[in-house]
Symmetry: none
Subunit: 193 residues, 4 copies
DNA sequence: TATGAATGAGCCTTCATTCAT
DNA sequence: GATGAATGAAGGCTCATTCAT
């Protein structure tokens, strides 16, 4: 009835798309990608099945969108490369940031981790993931170099492995895992000046 | 003329079941559990679709069999708890064993890792996996205790996390990952006397 | 432009569900429950295979629906218990009603009779069927009692048996069976004042 | 090892075939024809699946054999047509025979009744069944004629219907059904001189 | 004769996707 | 933009039947 302006339409689109993405993220994370149906997502998002296809041309595209959204997070990483504080301090900040991101969006990280082990998915994103991982690693490596570490690359690889291992264990055990303690120790071990 | 003997049948069964298990392991590992079809497994095993059900009552049961088969591996862990060599030496052996297991059955570990992040699946095995993980951890902890480590539990958790992280990265990058170097460093760091 | 209204959807649903039910009834009755496939039902109903599952969660549920729908028929039986006409007259009406029901929905009665001898199926409905049969019997018994019959229960059992036998034979022989004549004789024998 | 004579082989064949038929009869009667598998029959008969096909070329053939075996029963019916005793007495005997047959092999009759309502089966045997039924009916009709009944055909149809109805109810209700009483009443009604 | 492993057609069911309104 | 009925390809599974020994 009431004619809508372009802006209103755009707003509606945004809202619906966002709701769908959120619902998908949550369900994918909870039940896995394969076990989640379009119907479930639509219902959870409060829209019709058909509408989904107005925003995302396929289930895979929906996943794409989520993955890319994820990857966009942590873009601010580079800013840690330089700064007034010491390299150790910046490294420490990076770790704490990571932990915070993990804790603040468990769904999402479970999904990401889950996906990163589903071969049919990983193929589609492996380049993206590797690029991301490499970039990440290089930041850490650079920080170690600034710290004067004798073998920055190896140190970065070790830190990265340990951190991912801790994430893994935490995602599996949740409250049974002494996340804080582990991270503190990590900081002690890697971020001392 | 003469019917096959019981032994002959048994042998045949063994062979077919093994072929199916192997094919399933490989495909599950390659493509993920959900994306692998019974038809694919049958074709890869060189048998008909229906035959699988002579040996495994369902696709899920097939997965069960694989998981439990896997879990049985590495039972000899306990033997490392005591022995003539030093705790550090035994710890080193444990690490090397782990690496060997990983390298000798990549399919399997990809599958396991993959499964451990598929919520629909993990529920069925979470107890098993946790129990296994805990047992593992306790062995390592005990070795650190014998070594006189100030905080054996934390040390065990750190080693375990780092090792799993390394595994993760190795599984993702394969030949691009400096596995040997990482392990050597790990040994240096954790197994020195 | 405008989406369909709720009423339109409801109407569509009604129509499709009804088409499926009718097709199923006919085919189940013709070929038996087990020998009828979902594909056949769908084709007969003029819809796709998958659509059935929008309305009935399974083949069994479809059967359920049919059975319960059937059982609902003839609910008006009790009304015959009292009335201005004589008990004999009312008994006669009951018989004629039964015959009418039989003739007007042969498919259904073939199906019901067929099912009542398929052990895998009967278990699910035996309670329902027995309850129904008992209620039926009691109505007839009461009518005989009103008529002053010396042994109303036995008389009811005899009538019921004879009627079912006649049904049986009619269902098997169809136009070769002198249904009218048999019923008339039945009325003479049981409904005289 | 020990070479067997032709007679021994024949004996073995007989025994195996009989065991298979018995098992099939029981299982078909218990679970229905469709829900009974060849494997179940073989196991129940104590033979291998393959052996079954030495005796019966198919599941349908097995059913054939059973049906024809059944039909062979009651061949002695004709003998009742004449005899020293009165027609009423012979009619009574026929009824009692029927009841005895029913009670002594419930499985079998459940199966038969069940089959007689499975359209895909009935088609194959309808001629046989109708012929049988007609023959049966004619015997009864003749007895009524001998008894001097005014309408022997109708009387025969009525008796036949009532008897079948009683069978039906008995098969469904078993010990809850007053079979004896019903039959006695039937005899009183139809067999009085 | 006897065995049971092996086959494969065909069934029920699911679900991403399309489409008329 | 929005709806949900409809489609159909594809998957897991069953089971009568075959066959090598």
């Amino acid at each position: 009835m009431s004619p809508k302006t372009k802006e209103q339409y755009e707003e509606i689109r945004q809202k619906s798309a966002e709701a769908i993405l959120q619902a998908a993220l949550e369900l994918f994370g909870h039940q896995g990608y394969h076990s989640t149906t379009i119907s479930q997502i639509a219902k959870a998002a409060g829209v019709s099945k058909g509408l989904m296809y107005n925003y995302f041309p396929s289930k895979e595209a929906l996943l794409d969108e989520i993955i890319h959204g994820v990857m966009a997070v942590g873009e601010g990483l580079m800013t840690l490369l330089e700064g007034p504080s010491s390299p150790g301090e910046r490294l420490r900040k990076l770790l704490l940031n990571n932990i915070e991101m993990l804790k603040s969006n468990l769904h999402f990280w479970k999904l990401i981790t889950s996906l990163s082990f589903q071969p049919e998915v990983v193929e589609r994103y492996s380049d993206l993931i590797r690029t991301k991982a490499r970039a990440n690693l290089e930041v850490v490596e650079e920080l170690f170099r600034q710290k004067g570490s004798p073998d920055p690359r190896r140190e970065a690889l070790m830190l990265s492995a340990t951190l991912d291992g801790i994430f893994l264990h935490y995602l599996n055990l949740r409250e049974d895992y002494p996340l804080e303690e582990m991270v503190n120790h990590l900081i002690e071990q890697f971020c001392s000046e």
